[in-house]
C-alpha cells in the first residue's frame, strides 16, 4: 500500500516514463508532429534513466507487494531506458518518410518501456505478468507498425500475427504455471518453492517441477530459447528494424531479469530435474542458434539466430547460479548483449528506412572501402558478438566461462566452445563480405542529415563496446555491487 511520499519516490522513474507517455499522447492529440513527439519521448526516456541512475545508490525498497525497487532493478531501468532512447533515436530516420501516421510509434515505444521497467522491478506474479504483457502488447503494434504503408518492404503483418499467437500461447503457459504455484503456496509473490511451507501440501516435487517448467517454458519462449525459438527469425525479419532492435535488446533483457529473479527467489535450481532441463535447453539453444545462422544470408535472421545462441550462453550462468559470480556474469553479459546487438542493428538500420531495408549480407559487399567508419563499427559489433577481445562481448563471455568453471559445468562449457566456434563462421562471413572489393555503386545512402543522431548513437555504442572491453574495472565494480542485492 502506498501510504507516503517515501513510497512514491522510488517509483519516480516509472512515473516519469508514464508521464512521458501521457504527455506524448496528449501532444499527439493536440497536434501531430513527428519531431516533437520523438523529442518528448527521447527527453522523457533520458530523464528516466538519469533519475534512475541518480537514485541507484540510495534505493532499496519494496513498494507494495508488487514492485521491488533496488539497485539491480534500477540498473536495468537505466539500461533499458538508454537502450530505448537509442532505439528511439534510430527510429527517427527510419520512419521519417513513412506514409502513415508516425507518432503512435513513439507512444508504443514509451509504453513498452514502462512494461520493461515494471518487469525488471517485479518480484510478484501480477506485476511480472502485467509488465510482460504491456511490453508485448506494445510490441505487437510496433512489429506491425508499417503495415499500412504501401512500400513497406517486409512482412510486418505476418510477423505480428505470428508473434501474437505464439506469444499468447506462451503467456497461457506462464499464467497456468503461476496458477499451479499459487495453488501450492497461496502466495502470488515469487517465493521459495523448496521451503517447508511450500512443500507441506504433500504434493511432491513433481508438482512443483511441472509448474515451474511451465512458467520457464513461457519465459524461454519470450527469450527465444530452443526449442521455443522458431518464431524468432520470422519476427525479427518481418518487423521494422527499430522494432526488431527493441525486441532483441530491451525485450530480452527485461525478460531475463524476471527469469533471474524468479529462479533465484524460488530456488528452482534445487530441483535436479530443473537443472537438467535448463542444461538441455542451454545446449539446444547454443547449437540450434549457431547452426541455424550458419548459412543464412539475411542479417536480421542471422542476428535472430545468434540471439538464440546468446540466450543459451546466458542460461549457462543461470544454471551456475550457486556460484558467487553468476549474477554478475548474467548482468555483465546482458549489458554486453544489449550494447552489441543494439550496435549491430543500429548499423543495419542506419542504411535502411521503412521503405527499403537492406538486410541481406550481399548488400554490404565492399562497405569497408566505401565507409570504413561505419563498417569498422559493424565489424567491432560482430567481433564482440563472437566474443573476441578488446570488445565487451569478450569480457561477457569471460564472465560466463568463469561462472561455468566455478560451478564445474564442463559439458555446457564445451557446448559454449563449440557454439562459439560455429558462430565465428557466420560472423566472419559478414565481415568478409564487407571486406570484398566494391562492386557496383552502393544501393543505399550512407549519410543523411536526419541520420546524424543515429551516427552519434553508433559512435557511443562503439565507444562503450571498447571501453567496457578494454577497461571494464569500473563497470565491474558497479555490477558487483548491484548484483549483490539479488
Amino acid at each position: 500500500m502506498i501510504t507516503s511520499f517515501d513510497d512514491l519516490l522510488p517509483l519516480l522513474p516509472l512515473l516519469i516514463a508514464t508521464a512521458t507517455a501521457v504527455i506524448a499522447m496528449v501532444t499527439v492529440g493536440i497536434r501531430r508532429n513527428y519531431l516533437l513527439t520523438a523529442a518528448i519521448v527521447i527527453i522523457g526516456l533520458i530523464l528516466t534513466s538519469f533519475v534512475a541512475a541518480v537514485m541507484m545508490p540510495y534505493t532499496n525498497q519494496q513498494i507494495t507487494p508488487l514492485l521491488i525497487v533496488d539497485q539491480y532493478s534500477l540498473f536495468f531501468v537505466v539500461v533499458c531506458c538508454i537502450a530505448a532512447t537509442f532505439v528511439a533515436i534510430l527510429s527517427f530516420p527510419y520512419f521519417f518518410s513513412l506514409d502513415d501516421e508516425r507518432e503512435e510509434y513513439y507512444l508504443m515505444l514509451t509504453v513498452a518501456v514502462i512494461g520493461a521497467i515494471v518487469m525488471v522491478s517485479s518480484n510478484h506474479f501480477i506485476s511480472a505478468l502485467l509488465g510482460l504483457e504491456t511490453l508485448s502488447m506494445s510490441l505487437y503494434g510496433m512489429v506491425a507498425y508499417p503495415l499500412h504503408s504501401k512500400e513497406s518492404a517486409k512482412y510486418p503483418l505476418e510477423a505480428s500475427v505470428k508473434y501474437l499467437v505464439l506469444s499468447g500461447v506462451a503467456t497461457g503457459f506462464i499464467v497456468f504455471g503461476m496458477s499451479l504455484i499459487y495453488a501450492q503456496t497461496g502466495s502470488l509473490a515469487f517465493s521459495d518453492l523448496t521451503s517447508d511451507a511450500a512443500q507441506m501440501n504433500s504434493l511432491g516435487e513433481n508438482y512443483t517441477v511441472v509448474a515451474l517448467l511451465m512458467i520457464v517454458a513461457g519465459m524461454a519462449f519470450k527469450l527465444s530459447l530452443a526449442p521455443f525459438h522458431v518464431w524468432t527469425p520470422d519476427v525479427y525479419e518481418g518487423s521494422p528494424l527499430p522494432a526488431t532492435t527493441f525486441l532483441a535488446t530491451v525485450g530480452k533483457a527485461a525478460m531475463f531479469v524476471v527469469l533471474l529473479r524468479f529462479v533465484t527467489i524460488s530456488n528452482a535450481l534445487e530441483f535436479e530435474s530443473v537443472v537438467t532441463v535448463f542444461s538441455l535447453i542451454a545446449v539446444a539453444s547454443i547449437l540450434a542458434g549457431n547452426l541455424l545462422a550458419l548459412l543464412q544470408d539475411n542479417i536480421k535472421r542471422i542476428l535472430a539466430y545468434s540471439s538464440i545462441a546468446h540466450m543459451g550462453y546466458l542460461l549457462i550462468a543461470i544454471i551456475a547460479g550457486q556460484g558467487t559470480i553468476s549474477n554478475e556474469a548474467i548482468t555483465y553479459y546482458l549489458l554486453a548483449y544489449v550494447i552489441m546487438t543494439l550496435g549491430a542493428f543500429a548499423i543495419t538500420s542506419v542504411v535502411s528506412s521503412s521503405e527499403k531495408e537492406f538486410d541481406s549480407i550481399m548488400d554490404y559487399t565492399g562497405l569497408f572501402w566505401r565507409n570504413p567508419w561505419l563498417s569498422a563499427s559493424f565489424i567491432a559489433m560482430l567481433l564482440s558478438l563472437a566474443g573476441i577481445p578488446l570488445t565487451v562481448g569478450f569480457i561477457g563471455k569471460f564472465y560466463i566461462f568463469m561462472s561455468g568453471v566455478e560451478s564445474g559445468l564442463w559439458g555446457l562449457l564445451i557446448a559454449l566452445v563449440i557454439g562459439s566456434g560455429i558462430g565465428l563462421y557466420y560472423y566472419l562471413r559478414i565481415v568478409y563480405r564487407m571486406l570484398l572489393p566494391v562492386e557496383e555503386g552502393l544501393k543505399y545512402r550512407i549519410a543523411g542529415i536526419e541520420s546524424i543522431t543515429a551516427y552519434g548513437v553508433i559512435s557511443i555504442l562503439v565507444f562503450l563496446l571498447l571501453l567496457f572491453g578494454i577497461y571494464p574495472a569500473p563497470l565491474m565494480s558497479l555490477i558487483e555491487s548491484v548484483s549483490s542485492v539479488i
Partner: protein, 616 residues
C-alpha cells in the same frame, strides 16, 4: 705456424665466398685464379704445416678457434686436431684437390657456369678439410654434410637435364640415410659418454665399455651406417655410379679421391670404438669384401667409361673397408692415398677422352685412340696398372698390405684374403678391358678429333702419373695413430702367398687381353647362353639393387605421398564442416514459416520439458 691450421679450410671458403658474392661477374681468368689459387694456397699451408708437424715429432696438435655452442655439458668447438691421419688426409685433399682444380680450369673453360663450378668446388674442399681436421664429431659432421651438399650440387651441376638432378638427389638422399644413422650414433655417444670430442670420447669408451658391449656395438654400427653411406658400400652403394652425371673433374675429386673415402677416414678415426665391437669390425670387412666383389662383377659389364671407373671406385673402397675390418688401418689409409692418385688420374684421363670426343661415354664407340689421344692413353695405362696392382706400382703396395693384413687375421682371414685376391683378378680384367677397348683395336668413330689437353690439363695428369707409379714408396706417418701400445708386427707371409698376390692381377690382365685384344676368346660366344645373358643383365644393373630399392622404399613413399596429397587429417576437418552443414540443413527445415507448425514446436517443447522434468 701450426696455429694457422685454420687457414686450411679458410682459403677455399674465402674462394667460395668471393665467387658467390661476385655471382658470375668475374672474368674466367680471375675465376680460375681464385678457384684454383685458393686450393693451391691451402696446399702450400698444408705442406708447411706437415713439415713442421713431422719435424716437431708430436703425436698430435689441437687448437680451438672458438666454441661453437655450449649447452650444459655439450660444448663442441670449432677446433682442429692434427695427427698423422689427418695430416695425410689434408695433404691428399689439398694436393690432389689442387691438381684437379688446375685441370678443371682447362676442362670447364667452355662452360657458361664457370664461376659457379669453382665456387662449389672450393666449398667442397673447405668442407672436406673441415671433416678431416675436426677434433669433435659435431664439427666432423659439419664437414660430412658439407661435402654431401657439394656433391649434390656438383652432380647436378648441369641442371637442365632432369636425369642429372635425379642422380644428384639420389646421391644426397642415399648418403643422408647414412648421415642420419651417424647422427643418431652421435646422440648415443654423447648420451652415454658425455662428450663428442673424438679423443675424449674414444678414451671414455675404452675405459667404460668392455669389449663387445651392446653400447659399443650399437654406436659402432650407427657410425658404420654413416660410413657406408658416404663411401658407397653395401647396402648404400647405389648412388655412386649415377653420380657420374657430374662433370668429370668432380668425379675425380669427390667421387674417387676424397669424399667417398670419408667413410674410411671415419672408421679409421674411431677405430678404437670398432675394436670394442669386434663383430662390427668383422662386419666392416665382410661389407668391404662383398662390395668389392659385386662392384667388380658389375664393372666388367659396363659400357660407360665413367661408370666403369665408378664401380671400380666402389670396389677399391671395398678393399679399404676390408683393410679396416681386419685391423690393417694404415694399409687402408695407404690404399686410400694411392687410390686417390691413380683414380684421380684415371678420371682425369677419362675426362680428357670424353672432352676430346665431344662427350662420348660409350667405350665401344671408341677404339684405337692410342695415337689420337696420347696423354690420355698414358694416363690410362699407368692408372690401370696401378689400379690392377701391377707389381711395384703404387696400387700394388697398398693392396698388398691390405691383403696381408687379412691373411694375418685369425679365423675368417683366409677367406677374406681369398676374396680380396679374387677381386684383384676382376680388377685386372675390367681395368684393362677399358684400356684395350678404348685405346687399341680399330677406331670405330670420332676419327678426326684432336686431343684437348692444354697446359693446365696436362700438368696435373703428368704429376698424377708420377704419383700413381711411385706413390707406393711414400711412407705415411700414421703409426702413432693406430699403433697405440703394441709394437709394429713384422709380416710373416709365405712366398707362395706373395706369388699369388702378384700373379693373380696379371692373370686378370691376361684374360682381358685374350678377350679384348687378341680376340682369342669371343665375348659373343660367352654371351650366347641365356644364363650368361641374364647374369650379364643382372650384373650390369648393379645386382638389381636399384630396382630393389625402388620397389622397397621409393615406390611406397611415392605411393603414400600420392594418395595422401590432400592430407587425410584435413579431410577429418572437412568432415566436421560437412557435418555442421548437414546439421544446419536439418535444423533449418524446422523453420517452415508455418504458424501452426511453430505452435506445434512450442507446445511440443513444453510437453517435452515437462515430461523430462517429471521423469528425470
Amino acid at each position: 705456424m701450426l696455429d694457422l691450421i685454420w687457414l686450411l679450410p679458410t682459403f677455399p671458403l674465402l674462394g667460395f665466398l668471393s665467387l658467390v658474392l661476385t655471382s658470375g661477374n668475374l672474368p674466367k681468368k680471375a675465376v680460375a685464379v681464385i678457384g684454383a689459387g685458393s686450393i693451391g694456397m691451402s696446399f702450400l699451408v698444408a705442406a708447411i704445416i706437415a713439415a713442421q708437424f713431422i719435424a716437431s715429432g708430436d703425436d698430435y696438435f689441437v687448437i680451438e678457434v672458438w666454441t661453437w655452442m655450449s649447452v650444459g655439458e655439450f660444448s663442441p668447438g670449432f677446433a682442429f686436431y692434427l695427427d698423422g691421419l689427418s695430416l695425410v688426409m689434408m695433404l691428399i685433399i689439398s694436393g690432389v684437390g689442387f691438381l684437379i682444380h688446375l685441370y678443371s680450369t682447362g676442362f670447364m673453360l667452355d662452360d657458361p657456369s664457370y664461376s659457379r663450378f669453382f665456387s662449389y668446388m672450393n666449398l667442397f674442399v673447405a668442407s672436406m678439410l673441415m671433416l678431416v681436421l675436426a677434433d669433435n664429431l659435431v664439427l666432423l659432421y659439419l664437414g660430412w654434410e658439407g661435402v654431401g651438399l657439394c656433391s649434390y650440387l656438383l652432380i647436378g651441376f648441369w641442371y637442365e637435364n632432369p636425369a642429372n638432378g635425379y642422380a644428384a638427389r639420389k646421391a644426397f638422399i642415399t648418403t643422408r640415410v647414412g648421415d642420419t644413422s651417424m647422427a643418431i650414433g652421435l646422440f648415443l655417444l654423447f648420451t652415454q659418454l658425455g662428450t663428442l670430442n673424438i679423443q675424449d670420447m674414444l678414451h671414455a669408451a675404452e675405459t667404460q665399455w668392455p669389449v663387445g658391449s651392446g653400447l659399443a656395438v650399437a654406436a659402432s654400427l650407427l657410425l658404420l651406417g654413416g660410413a657406408v653411406g658416404k663411401s658407397a658400400q653395401l647396402p648404400l652403394q647405389t648412388w655412386l655410379p649415377d653420380a657420374m652425371a657430374g662433370p668429370t673433374p668432380i668425379s675425380a675429386l669427390i667421387h674417387a679421391a676424397t669424399m667417398v673415402t670419408a667413410g674410411v677416414y671415419l672408421i679409421a678415426r674411431t677405430h678404437i670404438l670398432f675394436e670394442l665391437a669386434p663383430n662390427v669390425q668383422l662386419l666392416v670387412a665382410w661389407i668391404g669384401l662383398i662390395t668389392l666383389l659385386m662392384a667388380g662383377f658389375t664393372a666388367m659389364t659396363q659400357h660407360d667409361i665413367k661408370r666403369i671407373l665408378a664401380y671400380s671406385t666402389v670396389s677399391q673402397i671395398g678393399y679399404m673397408f676390408l683393410g679396416l675390418g681386419v685391423g690393417a688401418y694404415s694399409a687402408s689409409v695407404f690404399h686410400l692415398m694411392t687410390h686417390a692418385f691413380f683414380k684421380a688420374l684415371l678420371f682425369l684421363g677419362a675426362g680428357t677422352v670424353i672432352l676430346s670426343l665431344h662427350h662420348e661415354h660409350d667405350i665401344f664407340k671408341m677404339g684405337g685412340k692410342r695415337k689420337q689421344l696420347p696423354i690420355a692413353f698414358a694416363s690410362f695405362l699407368i692408372g690401370s696398372l696401378a689400379l690392377a696392382a701391377f707389381p711395384f706400382t703404387s696400387g700394388y703396395f697398398s693392396k698388398d698390405e691390405i691383403l696381408i693384413g687379412a691373411l694375418e687375421m685369425d679365423g675368417p682371414g683366409i677367406w677374406l684374403w681369398a676374396g680380396g685376391v679374387l677381386g684383384a683378378f676382376f680388377t685386372g680384367i675390367y681395368s684393362f678391358r677399358l684400356v684395350f677397348v678404348v685405346f687399341f683395336g680399330e677406331s670405330k668413330a670420332h676419327h678426326d678429333e684432336k686431343e684437348v689437353a692444354g697446359f693446365s690439363m696436362a700438368t696435373p695428369l703428368i704429376i698424377l702419373m708420377v704419383l700413381a707409379l711411385f706413390g707406393g714408396l711414400i711412407s705415411i706417418p700414421v703409426d702413432s695413430v693406430f699403433n697405440h701400445g703394441g709394437e709394429h708386427e713384422e709380416h710373416h707371409i709365405s712366398a707362395l702367398m706373395h706369388g699369388i698376390m702378384i700373379v693373380v692381377p696379371l692373370l686378370g690382365i691376361g684374360v682381358s687381353y685374350l678377350f679384348y685384344m687378341s680376340k682369342t676368346f669371343s665375348i659373343e660366344n660367352l654371351m650366347s647362353s641365356s644364363l650368361a645373358k641374364s647374369l650379364h643383365k643382372f650384373w650390369f644393373s648393379g645386382w638389381g639393387m636399384d630396382a630393389l630399392y625402388q620397389f622397397l622404399f621409393v615406390n611406397p613413399f611415392l605411393f603414400l605421398a600420392r594418395i595422401n596429397k590432400n592430407d587425410l587429417i584435413d579431410s577429418f576437418y572437412s568432415g566436421i564442416v560437412a557435418l555442421t552443414r548437414t546439421a544446419n540443413g536439418l535444423v533449418a527445415r524446422a523453420q517452415t514459416g508455418q504458424l501452426r507448425w511453430y505452435v506445434m514446436t512450442v507446445i511440443g517443447g513444453v510437453v517435452l520439458i515437462v515430461c523430462l522434468g517429471v521423469l528425470l
